[in-house]
Each structure stands twice: as C-alpha cells, then as structure tokens.
C-alpha cells in the first residue's frame, strides 16, 4: 500500500507539471512531448488501479497514434510568418475560472467521498473485460466502430485537395 501511494504521488506530480507545460510552453512541439508524459502517467495510474488492458490500449492508441497525428498536424500547419504569440489576451480570466472550478470540484469531492478507500484484490482479467464488451455492450461497440469509420472517411474528405 505504501509503495503504491509513493508511486501515485510521483506520477501525479509529473502529470500535473507536464500538463501545465502543455498549456504554458511557447513551443508547439514541446507541448506535444509534454502531452506524451501526461498520457504515459495516466497509463501508469491505470496500472496502479489494476486496469492493465486499458493501460496498454492507452499506450498504443494515445501515445502511439494520437500524438503522432498531433505531430503531423503541427508539421502541416507551421505558420509561414514564424511562431506568433500562442496565447490570447484572456489569460487572467481563464486562470481565475479554472482555479475556481478546481476549488469547487475539490470541495465537492472531499465532501462526497471523504476517506473512501480503493481496495484492489486482483487485476481485472482481460477475458472478463472482453466477454463484458461482447455480451453487455455489443450494440455500443458496433455503433462506435461505425462512428470511427465515418469519422475517418470524413477526415479524408475534409483534408483532400480538389
């Protein structure tokens, strides 16, 4: 339990600092690399919570595919005038709004869940997860696959030059 808590706090601090890096850095490529640290930290938290299949899906899809897509997006949208100022003029209101929201959410969570403990006996078996997907959630699964197909066709239609 102690080892898990130590791991949690190390990963959590790395995630929060990197997330701040994503929204604060003035280099677009560095933002994508900071995002990799946040996504890998999330995968590590999933392993701490004994969800190993989801953790590997996170590594494969987010770090493997989505970040590469972001890097291609950055490459294709480099401004010819050089990097402009990446932030707009509403830094202060945005900071106040997000700070107010984090305060509200934290107060609410402390009030609602207090010291509820997460007890983990054994990792979630991938076989249990897959039989649940294909028995209970087969209709949403098929709907999501149609949606993914439609989104990819849509992206090609949008991005092609005619």
């Amino acid at each position: 339990m102690v080892a898990q808590n130590v791991a949690f706090w190390i990963i959590a601090i790395a995630m929060v600092l990197s997330a701040i890096g994503v929204v604060r850095t003035s280099n677009v490529v560095h933002a994508a690399l900071y995002l990799v640290i946040v996504l890998a930290g999330a995968a590590a938290q999933y392993i701490l919570l004994a969800a190993e299949f989801v953790a590997w899906v996170q590594v494969l899809i987010y770090i493997g595919a989505v970040v590469i897509l972001f890097l291609f997006g950055i490459m294709l949208t480099r401004s010819p005038m050089g990097d402009l100022d990446l932030d707009n003029s509403q830094r202060m209101p945005a900071f106040v709004a997000s700070l107010a929201l984090v305060g509200t959410l934290t107060a609410l969570l402390v009030d609602a869940f207090g010291n509820s403990k997460v007890v983990i006996d054994s990792p979630t078996k991938t076989s249990v997860l897959s039989s649940d997907i294909f028995r209970l959630y087969i209709v949403p699964f098929e709907a999501v696959s149609i949606l993914l197909l439609a989104a990819l066709v849509g992206a090609i239609v949008l991005a092609r030059r005619d």
């Binding site: 929204v23 972001f70 509403q90 983990i120 949606l147 090609i156 991005a159």
Partner: protein, 99 residues
C-alpha cells in the same frame, strides 16, 4: 489508496485542460488541451471502476479512447482546412460568422 486522490488529480488535470482551451490560439494546442480533459475523465472512470469493482467503467474508457481518436482525426482535418484558407493555425482569425 483513497479514492479521492485519483478524483482530485483528475479534477486538477481537467481544469488545466480548461485553461488551455480558453487561452490557446493555435488550433492544434486547443485539441491537445481537449485531450487533457478527456484523459482526466478517463482517470475518473477507471478509479470508480476499481472502487465499485465493476468493469463497466473500463469498457466506457475504451469507448472514450476510440471517440477521442476519431475526434482528433476530424479536428486536425478541420484545422488543416483552416490553415489552407487563412495561412495560419490561429483560431481567432476564424470569425466570419461573428455578428
């Protein structure tokens, strides 16, 4: 481990994502901030899945990851179109519909 440490971490990440969406001008960076928010929600779902000993949370995380991938694909295509029309990825320039 208590449940709240995961939930509060997710809340902090979500609010950092909101700050990024509100502040950034580059469309690709706005999409990255949206990914931060989606990840915060996924962390919540996994924490509740472990707390309630129910696999539904993990299955919904798989759905959210799929939809996030589709969203990034379409979003980057739109930003690419925006870049072709304005010669810059700056979202503040897309204001033709402003009254």
């Amino acid at each position: 481990m208590i449940l709240n440490q995961f939930l509060i971490l997710a809340a902090v990440l979500f609010c950092i994502g909101i700050y990024g969406v509100l502040v950034r001008r580059n469309g690709v960076l706005v999409l990255m901030s949206i990914e931060l928010m989606l990840n915060a929600v996924n962390l919540n779902l996994i924490a509740f899945s472990a707390y309630l000993k129910d696999t539904s949370g993990q299955i919904f995380v798989l759905f959210v990851i799929t939809i996030a991938a589709a969203e990034v694909g379409v979003g980057l295509a739109i930003i690419l179109l925006l870049f072709r029309n304005f010669r810059s990825p700056d979202l503040d320039q897309a204001q033709q519909l402003k009254g």
